[in-house]
């Protein structure tokens, strides 16, 4: 076979490989081309984060508007401090909104739902949610009920 044809075919092979990598990155793993720079940070303190994990989603009215960046324990208050990365386009979350941990479905992953407040002022980057609601722990609920407390 002519050298030229081999070159072209191997080139096509390489391009197919690159296309496959792009497909795996964009379509399969949902890696979006926009970087973390297009997001801003908000914080929320919870008494109990339950099964919440980094990379979990943050949603408002059921629409995903960001993700959980990190979960650390605050050594002074012994609460969990969760850092949320919110899309920069959503910059008018009312200041009295609440961050609530919910479960998707009966066995699904836990995520943070932001229930919208009515304040005219909005949360600035770096602010902390004033009111939060911890994860519902089914086991604790049942044991409280059973022991009559």
């Amino acid at each position: 076979m002519a050298q030229r044809t081999t070159e072209v075919i191997v080139g096509l092979f390489m391009i197919a490989g690159l296309a496959a990598l792009l497909f795996l990155a964009l379509q399969v793993s949902g890696l979006s081309p926009k970087s973390d720079g297009d997001r801003y940070a908000l914080y929320a303190n919870f008494n109990d984060t339950g099964g919440l994990a980094p990379r979990g989603k943050v949603s408002m009215a059921g629409v995903t508007i960001g993700s959980i960046r990190s979960i650390v324990l605050d050594p002074e208050t012994f609460q969990a401090r969760v850092e949320l990365a919110i899309d920069a386009g959503i910059d008018n979350i009312p200041a009295d909104s609440a961050a609530v941990i919910r479960t998707s479905g009966l066995l699904g992953d836990q995520y943070i739902d932001i229930s919208v407040g009515g304040d005219l002022e909005s949360l600035e980057p770096g602010d902390t949610f004033y009111s939060t609601q911890s994860a519902m722990n089914l086991e604790r609920l049942i044991s409280n009920f059973a022991s009559g407390r």
Binding site: V10, G17, L21, L24, S29, G30
Partner: protein, 260 residues
């Protein structure tokens, strides 16, 4: 009795010395990269033989494996009413495990055995020794391009395998069994991480490509130069490559995905 013990020891020494030869051989082949003007066309030709010609078998197997995953996943998951999770099941299985491993097994059977037979025949017909007589290093001229070609082609083939598999799974899940397409992709994108899953899968396939190509060219180079020797070297290539791939897969998976 003494004879048996002696034979046992001899075979142990044989194994160790052949590993040593393989290591020295690898060092020679990797160090001896020819000049780009000479080496590049050689590498291109090998990429064509090793990569492009393996494409057909990889694409067809990927399609069928993806379709089977879709069917099996649907049967199991529909018991729990969570058919939509087949997207993430198919993608994670393919990207993490089946993509790299099955591609490596196919690669060992399709390309590895051909490499061994080709180099073995070159040795049997004394082409390698005549190259040495002419002052051409066969490690550079023959072995290095084949080694690098396997090394480069394998990850590309594995990625194509995964993509075709995901497409096959979608074909069965979405178009045939009627899983909602948005949930299929949404679940997949939520659970597959680019660095943790896709990149680790690619690292796996790079390692497998390296090991398969190394075993194939070494078996060819080291074979007994007779027709029986070539045939046993070809068999050894497929057997050793498959075992090495499966064994390494366990080790790599434990390192990459085990939480300890």
């Amino acid at each position: 009795m003494i004879d048996r013990i002696a034979a046992f020891g001899r075979s142990g020494l044989d194994v160790v010395s052949s590993i040593g030869r393989a290591g020295r051989f690898l060092a020679g082949a990797l160090a001896g990269v020819p000049r780009p003007s000479v080496g590049f066309p050689l590498l291109l030709r090998q990429l064509y033989f090793v990569g492009v010609l393996s494409l057909a078998i990889v694409v067809v197997s990927g399609l069928f494996i993806g379709m089977v995953l879709g069917l099996q996943g649907y049967t199991i998951l529909s018991d729990y009413g969570s058919e939509a999770a087949i997207g993430q099941m198919i993608a994670l299985t393919l990207v993490r495990e089946l993509g790299p491993v099955v591609t490596a097994l196919l690669f060992a059977g399709r390309a590895g055995s051909a490499l061994t037979a080709e180099i073995g025949l070159m040795k049997a017909t004394e082409q390698l020794s005549s190259m040495e007589m002419m002052g051409v290093d066969p490690l550079r001229r023959v072995i290095a391009p084949r080694l690098w070609a396997g090394f480069i082609a394998m990850p590309i083939l594995a990625m194509i395998f995964s993509v075709v598999g995901v497409w096959g799974g979608m074909l069965v899940g979405v178009d045939w069994l009627g899983v909602f397409e948005g949930a299929f992709w949404g679940n997949m994108q939520n659970s597959v991480d680019f660095i943790d899953d896709v990149l680790n899968g690619i690292i796996k396939s790079v390692v497998f490509g390296f090991v398969c190509a190394w075993i194939a060219v070494y078996q060819g180079y080291d074979c007994v130069p007779t027709s029986a020797g070539i045939s046993s070297a070809t068999t050894k290539t497929v057997v050793y490559s498959s075992l090495a791939v499966l064994g390494l897969d366990f080790v790599l998976t434990a390192v990459m995905f085990g939480d300890f």
